[in-house]
Subunit: 279 residues, 2 copies
């Protein structure tokens, strides 16, 4: 390949690094790829650091030492994250979303790659320091968000199911009690799905009582895994006491009043505190 | 914002365009964003066209006229696609993947964002010309691939479920017969999930008899939608005659011989013909 311009190297570096968040690329990967000197690549990386900072695209870190190199970290500024969540809370509070029975229609949002990509980036930014090995979710509605988060963290996704499927081999099954409906449900996870001693991030679109999150923690124990992070897109204001304590929810659903035609989705108190946002 | 270097503009342009495939951005979007003249942005775009072509990152197209602008099209070269599928066929043919009952373990692959991103790009590249409005799939195992494909096509994802959920409002339910097991199953889709007269792309991880694909076509009719594209990651060699005719499968599962410890996943004949690949 003939020598590349700096323009070309920088654009391609940005694409390669952002496509594999957290992955440490050695400088020699790039000196070989571009046929350039290490000093040239170093200068490219410095320019790139400024670019991603200026446009709030995350951050690029240089790791010194023999095992060193360069990696992309999927961070997001407080302002950008707050703006994304404010827009989403307005969209979700539209009264056309109220369904019979007082439910809130969210499928168009939680299945939208454009929207879930933004939220996945927020979760990845928050949970990146926890050195997560897998993102885990329960079928079905949280899967797009869990996938987006896993992609930004560059880790595999694990999907827990409600029913056993012969095609997936032996499984661990546990029963759990839904926090809100008190119904007994089953969680099924293929024995091959998780490496033992892993660190899991549980992601879901919605939390009411917290029974599902509790179930995931119990299931993780059967695999000798721990769950250092729980990320929820929307939690209900009530019940105030959930079956898990330590979780990050982004939005809070205050009430769906079918008769009054009013729904209120706001930023969660934890988020407002974390990002120092005024109500 | 102070004037940017060409390096910076090009990197950011690449990120913005590739993050919203198919979306036409007017030149004035970028002249305003960067505070640069239209001629400068035009030159940037020309450089970018060369970069994405050289690194097989897709293609960038300029659309002339009053409604014109520039967009990213998620294409992939035959060589790169063939290489991705060859590697995957080798990985899926490992005998450690054979499960009791003659099933093939694929969960680690079909839930991997890294792997599904590659396959989603291949499908998006193939189906982009069909002007798809939604990607549709049936829960659960095809969701990550369908999400990845929808992201590359920059269209919403729709997930058909097997059970009704009160929280999603009124739904259309149809019964269909699984092509292989002949079992009657139900498909449920929220009435609000799809706009009428839309063009759907059905994506799934696995096809045996084709009953699910057939069911999706029937369900689509209830929404006055058509299904101009069907993309399948792995189809079984038998039965040869499926319940749908017009679909693109990437890989073919030839047999899982539990006793012989042999499994054989190869590139599908359609793919080998399309990309002129030797067996």
């Amino acid at each position: 390949m003939k020598k590349l311009h700096r323009n070309e190297r920088i654009s391609v570096l940005l694409k390669i690094l952002t496509d594999a968040p957290g992955n440490v690329f050695t400088f020699s990967t790039f000196t070989e790829m571009f046929g350039s000197a290490k000093s040239t690549i170093s200068e490219d990386i410095d320019i790139l650091k400024d670019i991603v900072a200026k446009f709030d695209l995350g951050s690029i870190e240089t790791i010194p030492g023999a095992a060193g190199g360069v990696r992309y970290v999927p961070s997001i500024s407080d302002e950008q994250a707050a703006s994304i969540l404010r827009n989403l809370s307005v969209e979700l509070s539209r009264k056309e979303r109220i369904l019979p029975g007082g439910f809130l229609f969210m499928l168009d949002i939680i299945y939208s790659p454009v929207e879930m990509d933004k939220i996945g980036r927020i979760f990845a930014s928050h949970f990146f320091p926890l050195a997560i090995d897998y993102v885990i979710t329960v079928e079905t509605k949280g899967i797009p968000l869990a996938y987006a988060t896993a992609r930004y963290l560059n880790v595999p996704l694990v999907i827990v199911r409600h029913y056993n499927e012969a095609a997936d081999g032996a499984s661990v099954n546990i029963n759990y009690v839904s926090g809100s409906s008190k119904r007994i449900q089953t969680m099924v996870l293929s024995i091959r799905a998780l490496k033992r001693k892993s660190r899991l991030l549980f992601i879901d679109d919605f939390m009411k009582g917290g029974g599902t999150a509790r179930g995931i923690i119990d299931l993780a124990k059967e695999f000798e895994c721990e769950v250092p992070g729980i990320g929820i897109l929307v939690e209900t204001e009530k019940p105030e006491k959930k079956l898990v304590d330590d979780y990050l929810s982004l939005l809070v659903l205050k009430n769906v009043e079918e008769e009054a035609d009013a729904v209120n989705v706001g930023l969660s108190p934890k988020i407002m505190e974390k990002w120092n946002i005024k109500p």
